[in-house]
Subunit: 336 residues, 4 copies
């Protein structure tokens, strides 16, 4: 059995890691840390994990003796924990933004932090870097918005069809984390749609840098919070630089993703739905339509807590440790 630790296990991503790992046949969770909830049974914080008979601990990283660690810690905190684990020879999947950027300057500008410990890390999107992930000791798990936007954008950028992409994303409220704020207060967000960080979200440069690996492209990005618990719909608007039909575009996506375990390209006329991917690690992509002005629309749907966070992290662990990529995540979405 692979022994794993979850550092920072009391948030939603911690809960999701535990949900998958607790039914994973090759994994044992030997530590779930939380300073705030040390010595509290996990089920008091994650009530759905009722049968999980473990308590949060307050172990420091260097007391952990495991094969692999998930750092579900905030931006800025990960960079002080991850190196300690790596130094001990522990494989790491980091869920923060600290190791996502090739360009440290971009990270420091958008996160407004000095990066003290840059390390070699692989960007943990299997659809981009599967082989590299298999050999990596440190994987930087992608951001939630970038996951949906990059998967929707790759075929267009790779084919050189677009020079500008506008990603208009709609995210469920769990993306804002487990901590209550005025924005996530039910009476404020229910029956509302709230655009935020409309031109300044730090996931923009992440999408930009990663799609930039496939070709020249400028990415504009605006997120909205919507009264949904889980899920991100990304509506990707672009003006292809040549005439291209819906059918040809579907073909491009099918070619790109046909062998992918977690990406599904929908038929023309089908629409990605959040409920189709709810609770699952799938990404559905569809709506390949071109309007009279030559604007192309592509829409992707993911569960922000799974494919956009913890499910991706488990898939990365699976790849790093030689297990089937979808192990413990065979299930489909929860619809309705």
């Amino acid at each position: 059995m692979l022994e794993v630790a979850i550092i920072g296990a009391s948030g939603y991503t911690g809960g999701e890691l535990l949900r998958f790992l607790s039914v994973h046949e090759e994994v044992e969770v030997v530590a779930a840390t939380s300073r705030q909830y040390a010595n509290t049974p996990v089920r008091k914080v994650h009530p759905h994990l009722h049968d999980l008979d473990i308590e949060f601990t307050d172990q420091s990283p260097h007391d952990l003796d495991v094969d692999l660690g998930f750092t579900a810690t905030p931006h800025g905190a990960s960079m002080s924990i991850v190196p300690q684990l790596v130094d001990k020879g522990i494989k790491v999947v980091d869920l923060s933004g600290d190791y996502r950027f090739d360009n440290i300057g971009t990270y420091e500008k958008w996160y407004n932090l000095k990066h003290e410990k840059p390390l070699d890390a692989v960007y943990g999107l299997p659809e981009m870097y599967r082989e590299e992930i298999k050999k990596a000791n440190l994987v930087a798990n992608p951001g939630c918005y970038p996951t949906g936007a990059i998967l929707a954008g790759i075929p267009l950028v790779k084919e050189g069809l677009v020079d500008t992409l506008i990603a208009d994303s709609k995210s469920g409220v769990s993306g804002a984390g487990i901590k209550p704020t005025p924005v996530t207060h039910y009476p404020n967000i229910s029956d509302n749609i709230v655009p935020y960080a409309v031109t300044t979200h730090r996931h923009m440069p992440e999408i930009q840098e990663k799609l930039g690996k496939f070709g020249d492209v400028r990415v504009s990005f605006t997120p909205h919070l919507v009264p949904v618990i889980r899920g991100i719909i990304t509506t990707l608007h672009s003006f292809p630089n040549q005439e291209i039909s819906s059918e040809e575009i579907v073909d491009l996506y099918n070619k790109q993703y046909q062998a992918e375990p977690f990406v599904r390209v929908l038929d023309t006329g089908e629409t990605p739905r959040l409920s189709s991917v709810r609770g699952s690690n799938f990404c559905h992509i569809g709506c390949f339509e071109v309007d009279e002005n030559g604007r192309l629309v592509v829409v992707s749907a993911i569960d922000n807590l799974v494919k956009g966070a913890s499910g991706a992290a488990v898939a990365n662990m699976n790849l790093m440790c030689g297990f089937p990529e979808n192990m413990s995540m065979e299930g489909c979405g929860l619809h309705p």
Copy 2:
């Protein structure tokens, strides 16, 4: 007292017309027609109008003897009713799409209907045609999406700043009408975000034609259904053809709308919210930001059933009949 009839009063727009008109001091509703619910008390269909002691009737248009009629009838049906009313000298506010287009060919193409009775009509957006509305006998009430998109776009097009606009709109489910369908079935739309008619919605040519009055512009439009009862958020993306600051853009909007009774331009840093306009006839516009790629974002919020339908219709009636434009609609939004 002005005597008015509502033709097709059993839908949501009929309910909203009755909500405002029942407290309007200069108006008496003398007929609310509904073939399906003839002789049924209005409150059996609109339970909030409990104190409204009238029944639906099955009167045909030419039996109506009123000063003004609201035709809250479907596209295609209005064109056979409106002319009968106009011929009798009855002022009309039509809530369908039948009289919105200057270009009949555009209407016929997008609505897939032959228009049998084109008539002179004024497009009922007071912010465009207030003086013409005051003198009109037939006013074509704007579509819900066009209202939010046009108001957000006018200053940009008028100033010649943009040649392409992408309107990414998110609408509450009441916009789909009172008739249950699989899409509006609670378990299907709750916790979901559903893009639809992503490049083919008939409100696109309406926005195009009306914004085209202010300058050359190509409009691309994609609507989404969101789990919200009322309201439309329109996120308008564009690339201004000259460098321009947020402050200058706010100034443009303030200049355009400062005297408007129902449009509010928010300060920099404020975000339009559906709850700010819920149940009211206001349109809030804000989020005037430009990103590193030169993309400008402008966001508008309206209540689709009020400013996007029945409230606009009442405002048009007020203008046509010499009442203060906001009569019976002095209230603000219902937040939370």
Copy 3:
């Protein structure tokens, strides 16, 4: 013009008081206090009140020179503010629990507070004490749950039909106030139903004391938080001590409430709906059914922020100051 102050105006009840008072023809709000938001424009906190051009102030009670004050302050705080206002000859409507109880011992037990300044106050439920309210200087505005439960229960207790009532209430989340907590965090309460304080809610003794004025009755009460912004549905279960038909029960309620401006007794077969009263001061009562075991069900619906708080407060002000009871609150509910 009546000059009024709202002490503690930054919460949801403060927002609702301002919504009604800003369109009240006989009232001017001359002070809206908030320590936290002093010198901030009201619309920054209550974005729907965009046109209200006033700022929160930090005035202490004894600096207020007004005709009437609303104390929208927490339990325990009101008792130190209200006496200062009363001493200055200012009429007061207090929205806290501090002056609701005849029996101070009950208050002190359930609120776990020593009451320092008991004063003569009238319980502000016009359906019980209209004439007393008209002459009162201090009115204790009822709790939200008690309003719905008492109105549903009066005819049964008054007629001596029941000796035990079980009130199973379902409340919208705005009832928990404007302050974010884990319980009101969108991902936690959306798609959930949360029973709380199942046998220990402090509104239970309030319902008990007030219904006790009409006859001997024991009241059991369990509240639930539901994923709704506004509104309380109270399902009142009881076993009448004599055989009685639905029709006879409807008659009892009609007799009790026929002249009431804000209570509506529905016909047999009609169901109270939250949307019928949303944003309005109405209470709808219906579902008068008896099952095979002799159990009677009566259901009431109110908007917890209006009839259950600020609307009731405005009605009390209207009564205390000689205005029509429904002044500024003529509108119906917002459905859908």
Copy 4:
């Protein structure tokens, strides 16, 4: 591999059966029938089952050659299908109400149908009849409300503590089925709480008959539709006929359910949550409190589509066929 057929597979319960069975290691679904959608790929109706490469068929029952059939057909339809399957030696789990009652008269009265083919059937609640289910050829899967109410009530009735139970239930909208109606139309049910069939729901006699096996008890029942996709919270009110503490009650429940694979008794102070059981086959029971009037509250939470329908059906199949009861349903709830 066990070969199974789902008769009537296009509804929500059909989708849920397919979700579990498609990952069941011992089962192959060889037929999913739907007259309406014959020859349509299953994923067009159940978009989350994207990888399920089968089509609906229009086979009649007697053309089915399988080991076990699930009849997810409406009340009244099952009684004409089930006997055909049983006659062919096919084991059956019927999800309708047709075979739930011992007393045919009760069925005929409450379902207003003549029962043409009474058969020996075992009521499929493993917590009542596990051993009988193992040997049964025909299992009548329990109703959704009865499942939550019976599990909450058994220990009280068995111990002779109560003679009357009031079950006040709150159900998610998926319980109303996949067919759109005015009640399930998003703008009508969102932000609403709708009591229905307040004294006349046909699940009342089912609860009554089954709890009656444990002792004399009268059951009163009122269901409410709430703006939730999945889940039922049942608040069970009763007046125990002897003084009993919360701790003693918790002990009773622990004793009853300690060995159950799918029932969890919560600690004092914990509250059953729908998200704790969402998508899973668990039933959580908690809130064992007694108020000053001697009223006891017990609350249960289930997913109406799983423990209340398809999950229970799969568990019954597992029992009937010698598989572990929780096979394919090891996962916990989806929170948040």
